[in-house]
Symmetry: C2
Subunit: 187 residues, 2 copies
DNA sequence: AAAAAATATCTAGCAACGACAGCTTTATGT
DNA sequence: ACATAAAGCTGTCGTTGCTAGATATTTTTT
């Protein structure tokens, strides 16, 4: 079974190559430029090969998004260490979320804006996604009533800020002050 | 000069026809289905005629968006009448915003999600857009410190809720409870 | 009233898109 | 060595946004 193992490994490598290339291209020129043709050319395979890995373009975006959820959950977790007091934890988590949205804006777009076909808040929700949401819930502290609801509204506010600043509907200046307002409102 | 007036009027009528048709088509099948060809066929003109009115597809979406801002500002204004107390005003305005996003989701998408080339928070920001934002600011009441910042965060939260519920990333149930959380956080 | 200029509109086409059917090459197991 | 199965490519379909060039219509000038 060593040969088929090798094949499978090579297939997995190509899968990764597709995702990383898609990511790089999107980062360089935006998701609109990530077409199946350009992607195929960049990985030195013909276009239909992509369809042997993914059902379509949306599924490629979705796969990138899942990687993004893993990284986001990780970053939120790390942001908590060394924070003194509940308010500080909340503040750090919010800052980490917004920083992720800013520094990985292309991946963020895949996760939360583009159509991916991913299921949220259900049985088949990817584990990474659930983990990221759990970090938000935990950041709100021990006050128990309506916890999930509060987390959803907090998440909405963070997402709104991220996406409205990104699309220049809210000016980039004043991010610090808005973070202060947000943390105060939720602590 | 009566003839040229008539011509100008007919041109304006066709402009309106394009916008209303685009709106109807988007409402029926989504913005992806609003292609220049289908739009042209529906108004019984050839495709290039659209380009004599608009620079491109994005500008058509932008024109629909501006109409949306007018309606949103109007709705927010109306929502205030008969509200007793500052908190009630805030609550009504938030509810009106979310209701607009829900009931006119296609127009909302044009206003806040799709690329339109509209300038926000600048000199050339459309009046309707400024008016809508002013309603949000007013809803926060007379407390003066960081008013614009607070309004931006409130708007972000509303937008986040609207868009995350719309894309089924937050469940539709519990809208009332989330509104409670939001209003409490900002009053 | 005829000729010239300007305006309005259409036909046809470009380059690029996502997706797929079917053929050809390559590798596998006997 | 040979049949078979898997993998990948060429070519194509139907669309997309957008535009150049041709044509018809109206307006202005002579």
């Amino acid at each position: 079974m060593s040969i088929s193992e090798r094949k499978e490994r090579q297939r997995a490598e190509r899968y990764e190559l597709i995702l990383s290339t898609a990511c790089e291209l999107a980062e360089a020129e935006g998701w609109d430029s990530v077409t199946t043709r350009r992607l195929a050319a960049l990985i030195d395979y013909s276009q239909p090969v992509l369809y042997s890995h993914f059902k379509g373009k949306a599924e490629i975006v979705g796969a990138v998004a899942i990687r993004g959820f893993e990284e986001l959950a990780e970053r939120l977790k790390i942001s908590k260490v060394g924070a003194a007091g509940q308010t500080n934890i909340l503040r750090n988590v919010c800052a980490a979320y917004l920083d992720f949205a800013r520094s990985r804006s292309v991946i963020y777009e895949a996760m939360f804006v583009l159509p991916t076909g991913l299921k949220f808040a259900s049985e088949e929700t990817p584990a990474a996604l659930q983990a990221a949401f759990a970090e938000l819930v935990a950041a709100l502290g021990p006050k128990r009533d309506m916890l999930a609801m509060k987390a959803e509204v907090l998440w909405s506010a963070l997402h709104g800020l991220a996406v409205l600043v990104q699309s220049e509907r809210i000016p980039a200046t004043g991010a610090e002050a808005r973070l202060n307002v947000l943390v105060k409102a939720f602590s």
